[in-house]
């Protein structure tokens, strides 16, 4: 059990075991372990599935059953940037449908396909809990708020050209594999980048401040140091 039996390197095997050891019961580590596999392999590979199975002492079929259940796990190689356009109702109505159509044309791909240069994988996604910033696009699961077809195309052209692109509510975009590593529970030390909140998140608070409205807490009455 302690030595690599396939193509994954020693470091990855060690990290898979490290994830499993975080939990009271090792199998709880499976979701983050599959995120780690994606960060190393660029997708969920048969080798990655076998490694998870071996570390957890379960069958590859069981791991496979889990990997196929969750939409963030990919069987086909994902590009450097995963671009998700929200086409759930609110965003779709606010323009998400048009943005998605425009990007398909621009990249000459269908849903869940990767551009020929291997850079961009395009997918339409469900509500990403940012409806107050509709229409929303996610790049490697970072928020790109209040998009238009033009702004979306621009962001994607910049990414393909290697120009730095920033999330509207977060840091400069990293690669999809780097993002998957953070989701596996290995922080990249970039929590301090980006704003506290976007403008829509502050809409009500601003009105409360303008009107002097508070909830009457000690701190709002200035009683807390």
């Amino acid at each position: 059990m302690s030595h690599p039996t396939n193509g994954l390197d020693e470091k990855t095997w060690g990290e898979l075991r490290e994830i499993a050891a975080r939990y009271p019961e090792a199998r709880s580590g499976l979701l983050p372990m599959l995120h780690l596999v994606q960060s190393v392999e660029g997708r969920v590979t048969p080798e990655g599935i076998e490694a998870c199975a071996e570390v957890l002492g379960i069958s590859a079929a069981e791991v496979n059953g889990v990997a196929t259940f969750y939409t963030m796990y990919k069987r086909k190689p994902v590009g450097d940037y995963h671009v998700g356009v929200c086409t759930n109702t609110l965003c779709a109505v606010m323009g998400g449908d048009l943005i998605f159509e425009r990007l398909k044309e621009h990249l000459d791909v269908g849903n869940d396909e990767t551009s020929e240069d291997g850079k961009i994988t395009l997918e339409h996604i469900e509500c990403n809990a940012a409806c107050d910033y509709a229409p929303v696009m996610m790049v490697n699961w970072e928020f790109m708020d209040n998009q238009t077809p033009e702004s979306a195309v621009q962001a994607i052209d910049d990414l393909r050209a290697g120009n730095p692109v920033h999330s509207t509510r977060g840091p400069q975009l990293c690669t999809w594999r780097e993002a998957e590593r953070v989701l596996a529970g290995f922080p990249d030390d970039r929590a301090d980048e980006g704003p506290t909140a976007g403008p829509a998140s502050l809409a009500g608070l601003k009105i409360a401040r303008d009107n002097g409205w508070t909830a009457g807490t000690a701190s709002s009455k200035g009683e807390n140091a």
């Binding site: 759930n88 990403n128 506290t196």
Partner: protein, 436 residues
């Protein structure tokens, strides 16, 4: 008199680097810990009961009562699991909360875990929000370094470990028992209840599952008092809640107010519907709550009143659509969502959501007949109340409510031979002055 808006959870979102421990402590953060340790766990549960806090994840179950169900004579470990899966369409409050002030949640986790005597807690956060995961990871790391987590917290003798766990994309994992399956490394399919999680939850041990906003509300209840919390809101829906306005409104965003505020008040605060347009339909609490119309603008947004109006308060996810929006298109898209997210465990939902999309898609293209509306209602009947979990029930809400309020619009698709609306007119980037 309570103010119209009552920022508590949102109150430090405009602070410089609010997500850091330094900023949080400057505002008196983590003061609830020593208070809780001095009170003892049972008194903390009593305070939360007295506050009237009801679950903010949709169902509105009294939080203190849920904690009281944990059998303390059970020798197995107890667990607290925070539901940070936020995926109900329209719902967008927990994500900005965790991005701006993850420490409010972490402080709530510590106090709540102490109350139910858990020594391990989890935050199950949906995977599709990278920067939120980063901020949570950092906050937890900072809390360990400051001695708010780990062994013998503040010298109290109480130990707690907190694990941030990123999901992998599945709406159903917001359902609490499916979430536990996901957290145990399995396919996220709901479990049969009973046993309820309070008795046999994570690893078959007593487990409390609460929404992010519920847990984040706990520290202020301790520091300001249960009576302070209960003084806000309505008789049976007490306290403050974040109302999320999205869609065709001038200033979409988060508005924290006492429960019982009306949509009319909120729209006024938000600068009205977008210029030159009027409200056509809205969801009070996400896509699983039946649609309401302008007729319901003065319904107090509390659990009882929205229920009496034929819908549900849900997550206070107010999605507003103006007259440029085709209700059939909106409903079809939500139905496709439920079909996509159905976990496949039970037949009424797995097969039913497939049939619903077939029938709706036909109608939307103007190819059906009027009988298809009855067929749809029939199909809804076969799902509602017969599904294994509330996802199936939720899938029927937009359909039955839209047929109730907008039957003519369905028929217009038939007479028009397709959708009579121009989808460009409803976008956020429609050129000013342009019209359908």
């Amino acid at each position: 008199m309570t103010d119209t808006l009552t920022p508590v959870l949102t109150d430090n979102w405009d602070a410089e680097r609010a997500w850091t421990m330094a900023a949080y402590e400057e505002r008196g953060g983590y003061a609830a810990l020593d208070k809780a340790f001095a009170m003892g766990p049972d008194a903390v549960i009593t305070a939360v009961k007295d506050s009237g806090l009801r679950g903010r994840g949709g169902a509105g179950f009294p939080t203190g009562m849920k904690w009281g169900f944990i059998p303390q004579d059970n020798p197995r470990p107890k667990y607290l699991v925070v539901n940070a899966d936020e995926s109900e369409p329209g719902t967008c409050k927990d994500i900005p909360l965790m991005m701006a002030t993850p420490h409010t949640l972490v402080e709530g986790v510590i106090v709540s875990s102490y109350a139910i005597r858990a020594n391990t807690a989890f935050i199950y956060v949906r995977g599709e929000v990278l920067h939120v995961v980063r901020r949570l990871q950092r906050a937890v790391q900072e809390a360990y370094l400051a001695g708010h987590l780990g062994k013998n917290i503040h010298g109290s003798g109480y130990d707690l470990d907190l694990i941030v766990h990123a999901g992998a994309g599945a709406y159903i994992c917001g359902e609490e028992t499916a979430l536990l399956e996901g957290l145990e490394g399995r396919r996220g399919q709901p479990r049969l209840r009973p046993p309820f999680p309070a008795v046999a939850g994570l690893y078959a041990s007593p487990t409390v599952i609460n929404n992010v906003e519920s847990i984040a509300s706990v520290p202020a209840i301790l520091t300001e008092g249960a009576a302070w919390f209960a003084s806000m809101g309505t008789e049976k829906s007490q306290g403050h809640g974040i109302f999320s306005l999205s869609g065709h409104i001038t200033r979409p965003g988060q508005y924290e107010a006492p429960l019982g505020i009306t949509l009319r008040q909120l729209i006024d605060l938000a600068g009205g519907m977008r210029e030159g347009h009027e409200l056509k339909f809205w969801t009070p609490g996400g896509s699983s709550t039946p649609l309401l119309t302008p007729e319901h603008l003065d319904v107090p947004l509390d659990f009882e009143s929205v229920g009496a109006a034929g819908s549900m308060l849900g997550t206070r996810a107010l999605q507003l659509f103006d007259e440029t929006t085709c209700v059939v298109r909106a409903v079809l898209r939500w139905t496709e969502f439920y079909k996509h997210e159905s976990c496949g465990k039970c037949t009424p939902c797995r097969e039913g959501t497939w049939w619903l999309t077939q029938t709706l898609a036909r109608l939307e293209k103007g190819q059906g007949t009027e009988e298809d509306l009855d067929l749809l209602l029939d199909q809804c009947d076969n799902i509602l109340g017969r599904s294994f979990c509330a996802l199936g029930d939720g899938a029927t809400s937009p359909i039955s409510s839209s047929i109730q309020h907008f039957r003519d619009e369905y028929l217009a698709h038939l007479t028009h031979g397709g959708c009579p609306f121009d989808p460009a007119a409803s976008t956020a980037f429609v050129p000013a002055g342009a019209d359908a």
